[in-house]
């Protein structure tokens, strides 16, 4: 618990807060700009990785850079140079990162192992080689190799102007390349086979995409370290996916989330004591992911739950109406076509529009008083396998929508007469019920005549499809059935 106290006593003052937020300090400005740009670049290229289901490729790639870093150090020291010359180290990292990707591709194409095993092998073996090389580096006389470990966890605070330039350059190149190759990469993500058939050089495009990932990973090594750069490649696109179904927008949102994570994360780490920037950036990104997953406007958990709930309610209501209709039919012994004729004014379009038009013209003047037949609760209970509780809820809901009314409501207002009360359809309810029953039977008929399914088996299928038949589809069904 003393840890919490420690953090609390070191909460920054307002002035410090402003200083960081307004980027007054040169070093902070550098770090914040760099991480923001890194987040943007990773967000853009990560989107393509996510859609190609290759998110973990970044994982394999970044682990594979370690032997490159250690190897480059050894080579540079043996050549008599400075072992920590950054461009040299990053070149080593890029070379081995590419080798790692190549190894994944070879394992996948030459053996029956799948993506996951190929990536796991490359990741662990390359990293193992790197660890072995690092141990050697530490024994070198010139080797105060402590600096190399920062590549594993990142060391944001030590960034200098050159690092910023490098990150800005790579971020710019990534954005431009993705802009230029937008159409080709999109095609590659969604339909590789089609792209190949159209004559696109898919191998070269793939290489270009992975080269960009390598570049972003390598520049991210210094900023957030080789484990957490994976997070920047995966989390922003995964979060963006909850907000849109449109690729262009997804890239923008992903870049935005990556950028915000970089900006907020590095600012927070500058404000709070002993907060490693890479880790804070990832936690900010993870928070944004959590929010997106819950509230995302397209695929968010809440939105989908709501849609599911609404659909369930509609389906149940329609089941109730159909059950009532069929009960009326059984009691009054009137055939369906007659009723349909009353409602649909004789035109072929038995669509919703036709029915409502008819409803507007002839309210309650139907030849047969279908709407006046009361159906008892008890009878309805036998129509489907629903519980009394559910049925009562459905009846109340339908009543509030004025689809049905309670018969003799004045007498039995009290809920004491369980199962004895009766309901009848209103005109609107009858119209809706007719449409649903019609959909149901059209589909049954279609299955029997065109799909050769036994009449005893079609009810179940029609039961599910009746709710989602569009007016256009109903018209086509009518035409198809009329041709027989």
């Amino acid at each position: 618990m003393n840890m919490l106290q420690q953090i609390w006593t070191q909460v920054p003052t307002w002035d410090q807060f402003l200083a960081v937020l307004l980027l007054r300090d040169y070093n902070t400005r550098l770090v914040v700009f760099s991480t923001t740009l890194l987040g943007l670049a990773a967000g853009i290229i990560g989107t393509f990785l996510l859609l190609r289901k290759r998110s973990l490729m970044g994982d394999a790639l970044s682990h594979a850079t370690l032997p490159g870093i250690a190897g480059a150090f050894i080579v540079m020291v043996l050549a008599g140079g400075d072992g920590k010359w950054l461009p040299g180290l990053l070149t080593g990292a890029a070379v081995f990162g590419s080798l790692g990707v190549l190894a994944v591709v070879i394992i996948r194409s030459q053996t029956r192992l799948k993506d996951d095993a190929a990536m796991g092998i490359v990741l662990s073996v390359f990293f193992g080689i790197g660890v072995a090389l690092l141990a050697l580096v530490q024994q070198m006389p010139q080797g105060s190799a402590a600096g190399l470990e920062t590549f594993i966890y990142g060391k944001t605070a030590s960034m200098v102007w050159d690092d910023f330039l490098l990150i800005a350059g790579v971020a710019m190149a990534t954005a431009v390349a993705c802009g230029l190759l937008y159409k080709e990469m999109t095609l590659l993500c969604f339909d590789e086979g089609f792209a190949a058939a159209q004559g696109w050089p898919i191998t070269r495009l793939d290489v270009a995409m992975l080269a960009l990932v390598t570049a972003v990973t390598v520049i991210g090594l210094q900023a957030v370290g080789l484990i957490l750069i994976i997070a920047l490649l995966i989390i922003p696109p995964a979060a963006a996916r909850f907000w849109t179904e449109n690729l262009g927008r997804m890239i923008l949102i992903s870049a935005l989330i990556g950028g915000i994570s970089g900006w907020l994360g590095s600012s927070l780490s500058a404000l709070l004591p002993r907060m490693p920037a890479g880790a804070v950036i990832v936690l900010v990104a993870a928070t944004l992911f959590g929010i997106s997953m819950l509230l995302g406007s397209t695929r968010g958990v809440l939105v989908r739950a709501l849609a599911h709930w609404q659909l369930t309610r509609t389906v149940r209501r329609q089941h109730l109406l159909r059950a009532m209709y069929e009960a009326i039919e059984a009691q009054t012994d009137h055939a369906f076509p007659e009723l349909a004729r009353t409602l649909t004014t004789g035109s072929t379009g038995g669509s919703t529009k036709g029915s409502t038009a008819a409803a507007g013209r002839t309210p309650g003047t139907g030849e047969h008083d279908f709407e006046h037949v009361p159906i008892s609760f008890k009878h309805l209970m036998g129509e489907r396998s629903w519980s009394a509780h559910l049925l009562r809820r459905l009846l109340n809901d339908a009543q509030s929508r004025r689809l049905i009314t309670r018969v003799g409501a004045a007498r039995s207002a009290a809920s004491s007469d369980h199962g004895k009360e009766s309901y009848r359809l209103t005109w609107a309810g009858l119209t809706e019920a007719t449409r649903i029953v019609r959909n149901h039977r059209l589909w049954e008929l279609y299955l029997v005549t065109h799909a050769d399914i036994a009449p005893s088996h079609v009810d179940r299928d029609a039961d599910q499809i009746e709710h989602v038949l569009s007016p256009e589809l109903v018209t086509r069904l009518e035409q198809t059935l009329a041709e027989r």
Binding site: G128, I129, F190, I227, F242, G248, L283
Partner: protein, 318 residues
């Protein structure tokens, strides 16, 4: 070359860890869940840190419990993000384990100085120091890590032997398993739990990277050498054991050729395992590159390397 008694213990510990991991790795590879080991072994970091912060002691047992709980939670979180968020499995793993790793890093940085749990030790372990921590058990003096790993190996072996048929069927055909009355979901979580326990028990000795290597590489190599599950498991165990022995010997000999003292055994073991995999990939009797090349020249129907499973295209329009 003279082997010191300590070298013997190091090899034994590494071998035990390798056997534990390789045994389970077979099922991970067959179920296309290889990266699960990677995710769990990165994600246990906060479990260790929290266990330490709560109990304020570096007792192995509490750390073990903390890490094992987080290991199982990791699998659960991945499942949630995957099924509730409809995020593809790879990305779900990436989201969960990097987040937990970041959390762990922050906790460790803020832990009191007395807690010498540095993240490096989690990543590459301290195999060289493991034999020094000796305990007496059943009248035998052996390193604590060896006892723990022997226990885990016994547990894993027991589970696999008892549930061999269930593991077998549910790995190859989950649908068939379900129709036969095997609870595939339960098998999934049992496997995940075993992997979590194994990861946690092993990584203190050999580091999380070697855990991943031993989980995947021997099993993947064995998968290329045979078509039978029983043989595959045996081969993977042999490959893991060879990696442990050769890895340590290489770690103390190879660097001397270049004028260095020695190198990290865990790293070298992973390297040797990688080399063995490459050998299997090239020379395997039926699946190997040479065998397939020669079969191709003879004009036989080559057993083709399976095309990558791309899955259905995502429902997204550009």
């Amino acid at each position: 070359m003279m082997l010191h008694p300590l070298d013997f213990w190091i090899i034994l510990i590494a071998m035990l860890a390798g056997l534990c991991c390789a045994l389970l790795g077979n099922f991970l590879v067959l179920r296309k869940m290889s990266m699960m080991g990677d995710a769990i072994s990165h994600a246990v970091l906060p479990g260790l840190a929290v266990a330490y912060l709560i109990t304020e002691s570096r007792s192995s047992f509490t750390m073990f419990i903390g890490a094992a709980v987080v290991g199982v939670l990791t699998a659960l979180f991945i499942q949630w993000v995957h099924s509730f968020g409809k995020v593809n499995e790879g990305a779900a793993m990436g989201v969960v384990f990097t987040t937990l790793f970041a959390l762990g890093l922050i906790l460790i940085v803020h832990a009191p100085e007395s807690m010498d749990l540095d993240p490096g030790c989690v990543l590459y372990g301290s195999l060289e120091l493991a034999p020094l921590d000796q305990v007496q058990f059943l009248g035998l003096q052996a390193p604590r890590a060896a006892w723990v790993l022997a226990g885990v190996l016994a547990l894993n072996t027991l589970c696999v032997l008892l549930l061999y048929k269930e593991f077998n069927i549910s790995s190859f055909d989950p649908a068939l398993a379900t129709t036969l009355g095997i609870n595939a979901r339960l098998m999934h979580y049992l496997l995940t739990t075993l992997v979590a326990i194994t990861t946690v028990a092993s990584f203190e000795a050999i580091g999380s990277i070697l855990v991943i290597a031993m989980l995947i590489v021997p099993a993947a190599a064995a998968h290329l050498l045979t078509q039978r599950l029983g043989v595959m498991i045996l081969l993977s165990l042999i490959i893991a054991a060879i990696s442990a022995v050769l890895g340590h010997i290489a770690a103390i000999t190879v660097p001397t050729w270049f004028g260095f003292r020695d190198t990290n055994t865990a790293g070298m073991m992973a390297t040797v395992a990688g080399l063995l995999f490459v050998l299997a990939m090239v020379f395997a009797p039926r699946q190997g590159m040479i065998a397939r090349w020669r079969a191709g020249r003879r004009g036989d129907l080559t057993p083709p390397a399976e095309t990558p499973d791309l899955g259905p295209p995502p429902a997204l329009r550009a």
